[in-house]
Symmetry: C2
């Protein structure tokens, strides 16, 4: 009997889906990507995830939801390379930063900007509200300054080791970068951090994404941007 | 030199703060509670948490933020009683359910209902919008049915062991129960589960909460409700 292949039900420009894709890539777990247009009639998302959301990972014969729970599971079961540090205090810092991005940064930046510029177009639910975009682009400045301040004293976001926090951050920032909404001139350390993580093999598939009707920014896939 | 005492900057009716309080209580870590009225002039929240949110825990001389990161840290450093299972798959399920409550249940139920009924009053930011309350009270029904379906086959929410998932769920439900918005008649298994967790010593302080101007429901602190 074959183990069923790993499959990710996802959307290309969802930060939570990208986080899972990057971690799968880093762990060298092959994955089949299936686009899940959950707003369309006939979508079977509810059968796969009672929460009705992506990402959903089919892995080892099970359906798994919630990106942070998934990536912690992947890190615990496929230890190489380790994406969580060894001390409780360092792990706390990784989880704090993942939550920062998935909750606060998402609410203030990713969600408003992506909803107005991408999702309304893709889901055909109306025209962009420029106030929402403005408020997101105002908020990202403080967030970038905060990240830069962390990187002044650390090699990676949560410390001196590459962790889930870096992939969570890169997942959000890469969605915004696709639509040209990250001003990399704002911080040299942040640009260097992103250039380094973007050059990793796990990023290749993410940089190859093309959403019909929404072409990526010209520099999006350029490693030396 | 004394180790500085553990102190929680919190709000009584915040589910994230309650989650941390319950886990501290379960681990028998004494804590000094300090109410953090972050919306008032003179609040020093930004000095304590760059995200400007509660809970913030001062513990072992450090300031810690993000409830899930905090409770995982407490569980890793104070192993008794253990609130995470031993296998990766069971831990995945705990984290999935914590995320379910802190993200989905919060967005659909806790936040709209508490914002309209509690926070607008406490922060003096306007009158309740009854459509928001209605939508929250409609959504809670499906959520309760889903929890009940989990409890049909399990002793606790994530499996046969008491875990962080139960305290996360109880944190959200107890806030709503304070304002009488949980219809316990909807499910016998869910009521039994809540009665059991509510009887634990860690719940005592939470049941003693009194928010000025917002008296708790008559049954709120009754163990046999
Ligand atoms: N906490 C979830 C969040 C997932 C999420 O919000 N996914 C969005 C796409 S970016 C979604 O599916 N939204 C549809 C919905 O909520 O109905 C995770 O980390 O996986
Ligand atoms: N992800 C955070 C959420 C904390 C949160 O949303 N706290 C609310 C109170 S329930 C808050 O402080 N809101 C103020 C704000 O966001 O400005 C956690 O788990 O600690």
């Amino acid at each position: 009997m074959n183990t069923p292949a790993t499959r990710l039900y996802h959307l290309a420009l969802s930060p939570y889906c990208r986080k899972v894709r990057l971690v799968l890539g880093e762990k060298k777990i092959e994955v089949e990507l299936v686009e899940e247009r959950f707003w369309e009639a006939g979508s079977e998302i509810a059968r796969r995830n009672p929460a009705g959301r992506v990402p959903v990972l089919r892995h080892e014969g099970r359906l798994m939801a919630e990106s942070q729970a998934i990536v912690e599971y992947l890190d615990e079961t496929v230890p190489n390379p380790p994406l969580m540090p060894t001390t409780a205090l360092e792990r706390y810092e990784v989880r704090r930063l993942c939550a920062w991005f998935d909750d606060k940064f998402n609410a203030e930046v990713t969600r408003p900007v992506m909803t107005e510029r991408v999702w309304k177009k893709v889901m055909k639910t109306g025209y962009p509200d420029s106030r929402e975009i403005k408020s997101g682009l105002k908020a990202i400045k403080d967030h970038m300054d905060y990240l830069a301040s962390l990187l002044e004293g650390r090699k990676w976001l949560a410390g001196n080791q590459l962790t889930l926090a870096d992939f969570t951050a890169a997942a959000h920032l890469s969605c915004l970068d696709y639509i040209s909404d990250v001003d990399w001139d704002r911080s040299g350390v942040l640009r260097d951090w992103y250039a380094t993580i973007k050059s990793r093999p796990c990023f290749r598939a993410v940089l190859a994404d093309q959403v019909p009707g929404i072409p990526p920014a010209p520099h999006y896939a350029v490693l030396d941007f």
